[in-house]
Amino acid sequence: MSTATKKSRSSSRKTAAKRSTSTKRRTSSAKKAPIHKASAKVFTDPLVQIRGLKMHFPVTEGALVPRVVAHVKAVDGVSFDIMKGETLGLVGESGCGKTTTGRCILQLEKSTAGDIIYDGQNLNKLSKQQMRPLRQRIQVIFQDPYSSLNPRMKIGEIISEPMYVHNTEPDEAARQKRVRELLSVCGLSPKFSDRYPHEMSGGQRQRVGIARALAVRPEFIICDEAVSALDVSIQAQVINLLEDLRDEFNLTYLFIAHDLSVVRHLCHRVAVMYLGKMVELADCDELYDNPMHPYTKALLNAVPIPDPAVEAKRKHQVIKGEIPSPINPPPGCVFHPRCPIAVDSCKEVVPEFREIRPGHWVACKEI
């Protein structure tokens, strides 16, 4: 790692420390009133700026000489910011491009167009070599705790590998100490470091995945459906752990998920995607209390509430049709074939993603 990045890193640490004290004050006052602590904070300092991000995967035909016949427009012109210290929720149904967006930020996909500016540097323009020090600052937690851990490695090896790769703890003994520390931070007994993944349950494995992400002291973690594969009772444990870690280490999360009630619990702001486009972005409470886009409304209405008395009284407006193919998305507004309030012009005009009130962005012209 170059000294320049080291310097900028330590300075960002200092500001992080400052922020943490002010955060503590805020949370203690928030405890008296029954307000969720996530809703009390305001974040203004952008860490990641995504501008016009596009990721088009080519579809090829022909076995010997493949030629490109079409493109899957997985992400099609998405712009948003992730502020330092906040948790941004990214929701949508399968195939809407939320995971691809996360993978583009991680530079696991070479995006087709657009900029990803991370702390002043455009990740899309960096070489592999230049990207390396940044990879230490950006980590990821995957969905499937079964396939994301190497079955032939012991838990201790899995967690110490990133430290070895980035050379953050050159000393073997120090590495082992850090592994034990990380295990206990993530609620696992240090004796797990000699075990293999198959000896652990799904919830325990996900904790290992989290410990591995924390190993190199990142500032930004992408949680890609990190709790979706877990059982309800275990899910709540891991959500609480993610929250505690966020407060303890001043982490910024991009929380990609399809479970809207989990996102509401954990996030400060929420972005909704549909078919490669962003349709709505707002503060968490604002989005859930006052959804504007017809798709967001439908999505919220479709979530069943675990109370039969409430469910009996609720009006269910089931939205018709299926998600169209991202190879050949509908012209105009991508949501118009399923939209209950669509008018003729929606079939032609692509709606602008506009700020309808401070901080609340919607891509619909009929509201």
Binding site: A30, K31, P34, I35, H36, K37, A38, S39, E93, S94, S201, G202, G203, Q204, D231, V232, S233, I234, Q235, A236, Q237, I239, N240, E243, H258, L260, S261, V262, R264, H265, C284, D285, Y288, A298, L299, L300, N301, A302, V303, P304, I305, P306, D307, P308, A309, V310, E311, H316, V318, I319, E322, I323
Partner: protein
């Protein structure tokens, strides 16, 4: 209403190198005609194995139904011959599986898969079977059913495939449908469509439904009665309102408290069920939930509590029901207050 299905003392075990897994350990419940019964629990609690046992679809070896009886329309399914059982599967009892991709045959057309059931059980063939297949696809809300008959499963989306599964389950007008996590693999908006469809069809056609799920929200929208399972046993059973508003088992209470709710103001912190589910090969005679239970007492170590009546059809297996009741009341009170403030 008359009882359609009565399961009594059902035990299904798997013999593995790690020991005997008591996947289903003596469950008793019934399903009345036209009723929707939900079976809730976490992965590995035996809810799917319990349902598969009804149709005798347990792979043997390693699995075996060891004890119990499954009375369906006056016959004990466990005493039937394999040939008689074939007649029950798909004809009297339909099944909808979780994964519509793996449970449909990828090399047969939709039409063939639908008519196969009709041929096998009702002897309907040719034109007539095709007509019925079109009718069934229309019933489950598939557009252009005529054209779909010639298509293969991979032509269809996940939601469409699940509709085809439901059409197949309904083909022979069964009295009972068992749906094992019917919407778990689907997106929320599609899940809502499928749930509405199943609710509507089962009510309209008077089909009883056993729905197996881990999603507490789905159960609340859907079920008349709920059985909560933990480590191979039913630990609480009652009407949906009993279970959600007046839980008497600590596990049910903890499960309800652990999910974030969209209709209430955001809680500062979730209240998870601590610890891990038990290893089913190493269960002792005590209550299997006791290591994770906040109400556990000495007695819980010695004896598994029997399922005792709380009120009417509501039953729960816990020695400390009174204390759980108090705690449930407090949290219900809290919920009410929160809703008022919201």
């Amino acid at each position: 209403m008359t009882k359609l299905l009565e399961i009594e003392g059902l035990k299904t075990q798997f013999y593995t190198s790690a020991g005997t897994v008591k996947a289903v350990d003596g469950i008793t419940y019934d399903v009345k005609e036209g009723e929707t019964v939900a079976i809730v629990g976490e992965s590995g609690c035996g809810k799917s194995v319990g349902a598969m046992s009804i149709l005798r679809l347990i792979p043997d070896p390693p699995g075996k139904i060891v004890e119990g009886s499954i009375m369906f329309q006056g016959r004990d399914l466990l005493k039937l011959s394999e040939a008689q059982m074939r007649d029950v599967r798909g004809k009297d009892i339909g099944m909808v599986f979780q994964e519509p991709m793996t449970s449909l045959n990828p090399v047969l057309t939709i039409g063939r898969q639908l008519t196969e059931t009709l041929e096998e059980h009702l002897g309907t063939t040719g034109e007539k079977a095709m007509e019925r297949a079109v009718e069934l696809l229309g019933l489950v809300g598939i557009s252009e059913p005529q054209r779909r008959l010639a298509q293969y499963p991979h032509h269809l989306s996940g939601g469409m495939r699940q509709r085809v599964m439901i059409a197949m389950a309904l083909a022979c007008e069964p009295k009972l449908i068992i749906a094992d996590e019917p919407t778990t693999a689907l997106d929320v908006t599609i899940q809502a469509q499928i749930l509405e469809l199943m609710k509507d069809l089962t009510r309209r056609l008077g089909v009883a439904l056993i729905v197996i799920t881990h999603n507490l929200g789905v159960v609340a929208r859907y079920a008349d009665r709920v059985n909560v399972m933990y480590a191979g046993k039913i630990i609480e059973s009652g009407t949906a309102l009993d279970i959600y508003h007046r839980p008497r088992h600590p596990y049910t209470l903890a499960l309800l408290k652990s999910v974030p709710r969209m209709d209430l103001p955001r809680a500062a912190k979730l209240d998870p069920v601590e610890g891990q589910p038990p290893d089913l090969t190493r269960l002792d005679e005590g209550c299997s939930f006791r290591p994770r239970c906040g109400f556990a007492v000495k007695k819980c170590e010695q004896q598994f509590p029997p399922l005792e009546a709380v009120k009417g059809p509501h039953i729960a297996a816990c020695w400390e029901k009174q204390r759980v009741a108090k705690s449930a009341q407090i949290s219900a009170e809290k919920t009410r207050k929160l809703r008022k403030s919201a």
